[in-house]
């Protein structure tokens, strides 16, 4: 805990905590996507349901879940603290400020995109995670997913949220590596390729799910 509080007391340290939690969440996204790809299997949800039933029954998953909650909470709380404290560093704003000339919109809207993804997260957990853990009696997760995404509004909300997640990761992933100090010429290509996988391929994979059920409903 000494190292953590030591990092928290420095602005660079806070960024390192922000990047570390962010990268853990990126890894979680890969695992989450890999499992959910079973939705696309053409067996009327049999394998997906088996997978969805297996997860809550494993103790290790329950433990990982708690750790994951802590990481999510850490990332969200730190991000909010960072944003509010940074805002106070320029009490008088510029009359004219052409930020679009010197930086990308993704890098300047991390708190906004993060906040919307957070709202998505709450809705998403209520819709799917809650029933999968606390519902009594037999629940077909596949059926739940299918009916939820048959609603065009709900499916669109998911797709928009994934676009915003993509914007968040587009800056977030490479920003985390810069914060760890690995973002130099030697690793530039690796960072770029991994970056595209994280910001483009993964959110696109998730967005394909509501799109798939919407088109097949």
């Amino acid at each position: 805990m000494g190292i953590l509080s030591g990092l928290y007391s420095s602005s660079v340290g806070k960024k390192i905590l922000m990047g570390t939690t962010g990268l853990f969440l990126c890894i979680y996204l890969v695992v989450h996507l890999a499992g959910n790809l079973l939705l696309f299997k053409n067996d009327n949800g049999e394998s997906f349901n088996a997978y969805a039933e297996l997860l809550p029954s494993l103790t290790i998953i329950r433990i990982i879940e708690i750790v994951l909650f802590a990481i999510f909470a850490g990332h969200i709380v730190l991000g909010t603290i960072f944003w509010t404290s940074n805002r106070k560093k320029r009490p008088k704003k510029y009359e004219v400020n052409k930020q679009s000339e010197n930086s990308s919109i993704f890098s300047r809207t991390m708190f906004l995109t993060g906040s919307i993804v957070f709202i998505f997260l709450v809705v998403h957990m209520r819709q799917f995670w809650g029933p999968s853990r606390f519902a009594t009696g037999e629940v077909s997760m596949y059926h739940l997913v299918k009916t939820a995404f048959a609603n065009p509004l709900y499916a669109m909300f998911y797709i928009i949220a994934m676009a915003l997640l993509a914007f968040h990761l587009r800056h977030g992933f490479q920003s985390a590596l810069q914060t760890f100090g690995v973002s130099n010429q030697k690793y530039a290509l690796m960072v770029k390729v991994l970056g595209i996988i994280f910001w483009l391929v993964i959110p696109a994979g998730f967005a394909a799910m509501p799109l798939f059920f919407l088109l097949n409903s």
Binding site: I3, G6, L7, S10, S11, V12, G13, K14, K15, I16, F82, S85, N86, K88, K89, R90, P91, K92, K93, Y94, E95, V96, N97, K98, Q99, E101, N102, S103, S104, S107, R108, M110, H171, Q174, S175, Q178, T179, F180, G181, V182, S183, N184, Q185
Partner: protein, 246 residues
């Protein structure tokens, strides 16, 4: 050429400032931005009005004194140029130009376009130096430093401490400035003995001066008149981690 200037006027630190409009007439395209301001000030002085205060010294882009927000950009519209090296040919005849001081909690306005940048001095005092005896020039030349490393250290040392990085950053962060200073010494053998203490102290001082944190937007690199690379910020982060993990 002629221009309409919208200039931030503020009598002193405590005063409420406001924008005042001025006409800049008889300006030639080969005048520097500061020469244009000199011409406006001359008119103001002739009319018995108070001249516009702005920082300047060498006027050849190496001292870091000049610097203001010009039409929403630090040091104006060009890349890799300090305000004194900006020429009026970069502006369209008849345009309105908005002039503001650097805006940051750590850089309070002293008067008009002049801000107090002594926070940078205190960051340097916290660790931006080498206190081991490095001998004279001949001694330094006996220490082998590979050419690419020397070049990179020199790129970092090109920082003139003008504050454009802070001014352009949405968080008013001084990371590029601190990174340039830490990087310059971290690359060279003479900087090694105090490396750990240096990075810790300079970052602590940066936080204490109320500069913001880094969001890696890289606006600093885009607006730096010396085009200092954000790869130096990566090195600063690395040095910080090394100091913490040792």
């Amino acid at each position: 050429m002629q221009f309409t200037l919208k200039v931030w006027r503020q009598h002193d630190r405590q005063a409420e400032g406001k924008f005042v409009e001025y006409k800049a007439t008889d300006i030639t395209p080969d005048m520097s931005f500061l020469e244009m301001l000199d011409a406006v000030n001359l008119d103001l002085a002739r009319n018995g009005e108070e001249t516009i205060a702005f920082d300047h010294d060498c006027r050849e882009g190496i001292c870091g004194s000049c610097g203001m927000y010009i039409n929403g950009r630090a040091h104006g519209p060009l890349r890799g140029v300090a305000t004194c090296q900006l020429y009026m040919r970069s502006f369209k005849d008849g345009n309105t130009i908005v002039l503001e001081p650097w805006r940051a909690k750590a850089f309070p306005v002293i008067k008009d376009l002049v801000v107090d940048r002594s926070a940078f001095d205190r960051i340097i005092q916290a660790g931006g130096y080498v206190s081991v005896d490095t001998g004279g020039v001949p001694d330094a030349n006996t220490i082998p430093v590979p050419k690419p490393i020397a070049e990179e250290a020199f790129d970092a040392a090109a920082c003139i401490g003008c504050g454009a990085c802070v001014a352009a950053c949405k968080n008013s962060s001084a990371m590029l400035f601190v990174a340039a200073k830490v990087s310059q010494l971290a690359l060279l053998p003479q900087g090694q003995p105090e490396q750990k203490a240096r990075v810790e102290r300079m970052i602590a001082q940066m936080d204490e001066e109320e500069f913001g944190g880094c969001s890696n937007t890289y606006a600093c690199e885009a607006e730096c008149p010396k085009e200092i690379s954000v790869s130096h910020i990566a090195r600063l982060n690395r040095e910080f981690l090394k100091a913490r993990l040792k």
